[in-house]
């Protein structure tokens, strides 16, 4: 398979994943109705793919998927997508660093990004005189999402076979040659 069609295949996979996860959050009770705030799994997957292969997760897919989810979820449309787009560009620009350093660095960086995204989102809601949630719930939401993140990384790695560059194909399929030369 050529590199080009492979990238598009993975982009398709990424879009399907985001849509599936956003739809799954809306499954009627009782499967997913827990009385606690849910983790933002969509954000986790976006960050995990961006940290691994930013070329598989272009900004337009991220924005479209989150905007659609926002429309469905009766949130103020556009705001969360704008915040996530900004944050995702920061994560994208760091992906070389994620490759060089340990997972702990990636995890803490993305946690900090998510926390600042949620807090700035709430701040803008407040400035627009829209109802916000209590700080306790917000912090809980952030904590749950941070804890879920490594799980989504595992899924990204071992279910979707999306690895960081230089680690991937050569490690799994030695016949293909180094992926670093390809990229």
């Amino acid at each position: 398979m050529s590199t080009y069609s492979k990238i598009w295949l993975y982009r398709l996979l990424f879009s399907a994943l985001l849509l599936l996860v956003s739809a799954m959050v809306m499954v009627p009770a009782p499967v997913f109705s827990l009385p606690v705030p849910r983790a933002d799994i969509v954000f986790c997957f976006v960050a995990a793919w961006l940290a691994r292969r930013p070329d598989y997760a272009p900004a337009w897919i991220i924005v479209t998927a989150i905007l659609l989810a926002e429309f469905l979820a009766a949130q103020a449309p556009g705001l969360w997508s704008a915040v996530v787009l900004g944050v995702s560009e920061i994560i994208r620009s760091r992906h070389e660093k994620f490759r060089q350093r340990s997972f702990l660095y990636e995890w803490s960086f993305i946690s900090a990004m998510f926390a600042s995204a949620v807090l700035s989102y709430q701040l803008i809601l407040m400035l627009a005189f829209l109802p916000t949630t209590s700080l306790r719930l917000i912090l809980f939401h952030i904590a749950v999402t941070i804890l879920i993140y490594p799980l989504t990384v595992l899924v990204t790695n071992y279910l979707f076979r999306v690895f960081k560059r230089g680690f991937d194909e050569q490690f799994l399929f030695p016949g293909l040659g180094s992926a670093r030369k390809e990229g």
Partner: protein, 294 residues
């Protein structure tokens, strides 16, 4: 060397173009948010239209998960069929008793009504619907149902199901509508306590037990049953809401009669609003025959 520098310049140019595009996109998204904030009604109509298009896909995507939960339910029920059967039989017995009681009371009621010669407002009926999706976050608690304006649903109508009041229609699309649940932070419902007629407001705060506000602690006891008061005209009178409990924060809360966690079917109550009487002759209808209630 020169080629390398060219490539570098190209990369820089591409990067700044990208930055520009991202900036424009963020600007447009924020504009969308502002338009929504200002022109809320129109944007909500757009949202309903989007929903009508996307909903079949959501339903389709949810099929596997729903199937799994059904299978687990079936398995669980399978192992306690006998137990469940006797439970249901007891329930049937109880309900039969209540049905007879209801018939007797209805007969009595109609006789009394005849005696008093009162006119009933026989304008209430309901539209049944299935819950399609549960759109919950820590910020909002709504469900999506598969009935919309095409089925006669309109904004603001009360919704009951699973044993009590569930909420009201927040926005009705053509084929689907969104229901604002009682636990949503923006939900406010005027209520009264059945026995004492003390009035208050049930205010959602995101938890499963919404707050009971504007009721003085001495006026209400834990265990008192609460129904809608009909004040404000949005909800009809005497719909079962719940029972007073004292929350862990020592404030008065309601244990809702409707189980909001396991909503499957709901009914949208349709009621033609009563206009305020303008003339005394509107209040008592003299010689008109009484309207049948069913």
């Amino acid at each position: 060397m020169r080629r390398y520098r060219d490539g570098d310049a190209e990369a820089t140019a591409a990067r700044s173009l990208r930055r520009l595009l991202v900036g424009v996109a963020i600007f447009l998204l924020v504009c969308l948010f502002l338009v929504w904030r200002i022109e809320n009604q129109r944007m909500e109509r757009v949202r309903s239209a989007v929903m009508d298009v996307v909903l079949p896909a959501v339903e389709f995507g949810n099929k596997p998960v729903q199937y799994l939960s059904q299978v687990s339910n079936t398995l669980r029920n399978h192992f306690r069929v006998a137990e469940r059967n006797s439970e249901l039989e007891q329930e049937v017995d109880r309900l039969r008793f209540w049905r007879n009681e209801a018939r007797r009371l209805e007969l009595q009621n109609s006789r009394l009504r005849n005696l008093l010669n009162t006119q009933l407002v026989a304008s209430e009926f309901s539209i049944s619907a299935t819950v399609l999706a549960d759109i919950n976050s820590q910020f909002q608690h709504t469900v999506l149902i598969n009935a919309g304006t095409e089925n006669g649903v309109a904004n603001g109508w009360p919704v009951i199901g699973n044993g009590g009041l569930v909420g009201r229609v927040l926005s009705a699309g053509a084929k689907s509508s969104r229901i604002l649940l009682l636990r949503d932070p923006s939900s406010r419902v005027p209520v009264k306590i059945i026995d004492s007629d003390v009035r208050g407001i049930v205010a959602g705060d995101g938890s499963f037990r919404p707050l009971l506000e504007f009721v003085i602690a001495g006026d209400a006891q834990p265990g008192d049953r609460v129904v809608t008061s009909g004040d404000g005209g949005v909800f009809p009178k005497d719909l079962e809401v719940g029972e007073i409990v004292v929350g862990s924060d020592q404030r008065m809360r309601l244990r809702l009669a409707a189980d909001l966690l396991n909503l499957e079917f709901v009914s949208v109550l349709r009621e033609i609003p009563l206009s305020e009487p303008t003339d005394v002759s509107d209040l008592i209808v003299g010689d008109a025959p009484p309207v049948e209630s069913n």
